[in-house]
Amino acid sequence: MNQKNEGVEMKLMMEKDQEQISQYDITKAAHPGICFFHIFFKFCAFFSYLFLGLIIKSTLFQYILIMIFHAFDFYTVKNITGKFLVGLRWYSDFTPKGDEIWRFECFDKCKRSKIDSSVFWTFQFGASCAWAFFVFTNVLSFEFVDILFAGIGASLSWINLWGFYKCSKDQQRKMKGVQSYLTKKGLQMAVQS
């Protein structure tokens, strides 16, 4: 009996591990191309920040490329991957009076899977932490340009992370709102009947 239980437990653990690994299997994602680009520009930005000096001798081209990759990464995450991978969007809008408000929206219509959202959140959070780490280590070395580019990368990543986090909090609030509305309705019906 005991051995059989252990065998079942082992099987469950292995299945769980496999499930966790397959959470990052891009080929099974709903939008594999977009997942790829989400990771690709971040990778390019890190690679050019750390290693481009070994490939291209001219520091000017290094700087240009790093800036371009930062910009591409931010644009892609904000406008493209956020919309397709997790169905969230944030932007600024203005009222008729001219005041500026920030909108954080979620929508459910586009098809997406758990793999998409886990890829999105893991890499965005991971990249943000990595840039913050580089800023911290570079501040001690007083190398202004390194701090500049790591700082730009960190601020852009964290801005995106903050924006999408606020969207997803809104989404959770909306869900809770719907749930509480339904329970109220249910109670009302129960009381009336």
Binding site: I34, K57, S58, T59, L60, Q62, Y63, I64, M67, I68, A71, Y75, N79, I80, K83, R89, Y91, S92, D93, F94, T95, P96, G98, E100, I101, W102, R103, F104, E105, C106, F107, K109, C110, F144, V145, L148, K166, D170, K174
Partner: protein, 202 residues
């Protein structure tokens, strides 16, 4: 600040219908739409006759236009810079980049502290788009600078500086109380003057 995403009332911004359509756009459509908006805003900012509604279009600010112009200017000037050592070119790039963004930030802060009711990003967006004439001037000087005497080079520099300053001052002055106009406008002049001069002497 309002963080809800409830459906706004019907008399809210007209952009709402457009934004729901955006959700189903493909990637290439998104990119083309953004590029067209940058071109439209550029024309809007730099050609005063295009503005029928007193600058309301600026409320749809975006920072991609300023980023592009900043990068182009920094690249133009650093390619042109004397390469006595390789560090000079990249220094110029970093200097221009930091100068434009920090300068725009400071000018905006100044306008806000003087009591101007302007959104921070709107003003940075405007200042960034007005860098475009300085781009033109930098490219002209980069290509033809070695053939022209110094005084002749001053002409495009001055014209482009006047164009930038005129386009941005119109907006900035309208945002602050009338008796503080000169205080708000002076840093804008200084900002573009420095950029034009820098692109001349580098």
């Amino acid at each position: 600040m309002d963080y809800t995403n409830q459906r706004p009332p019907q008399n809210y911004s007209q952009m709402d219908d457009q934004k729901t359509q955006d959700l189903e756009e493909s990637v290439s459509e998104t990119i083309m739409r953004d590029l067209k908006m940058i071109a439209y805003k550029l024309k809007y900012v730099l050609i005063p006759k295009e503005q029928e509604d007193n600058g309301k279009e600026l409320r749809n600010w975006d920072l991609w236009g300023p980023l592009i112009f900043c990068l182009v200017l920094a690249m133009t000037l650093s390619f042109k810079a004397e390469s006595t050592t390789t560090s000079t070119k990249s220094d110029v790039f970093a200097i221009i980049f930091v100068l434009i963004w920090v300068g725009a930030f400071i000018v905006t802060l100044n306008a806000q502290l003087l009591g101007g009711k302007v959104s921070f990003f709107q003003s940075v967006c405007l200042l960034g788009y007005c860098v475009f004439p300085i781009n033109i001037e930098a490219i002209i000087i980069a290509f033809f600078g070695s053939y022209l005497p110094f005084l002749v080079k001053l002409i495009p520099v001055f014209l482009c500086f006047a164009w930038s300053a005129y386009s941005s001052v119109g907006f900035m002055a309208s945002l602050v109380p009338p008796h503080k106009k000169k205080l708000a406008v002076y840093p804008v002049f200084l900002f573009y003057l420095f950029l034009s001069w820098f692109s001349l002497i580098v």
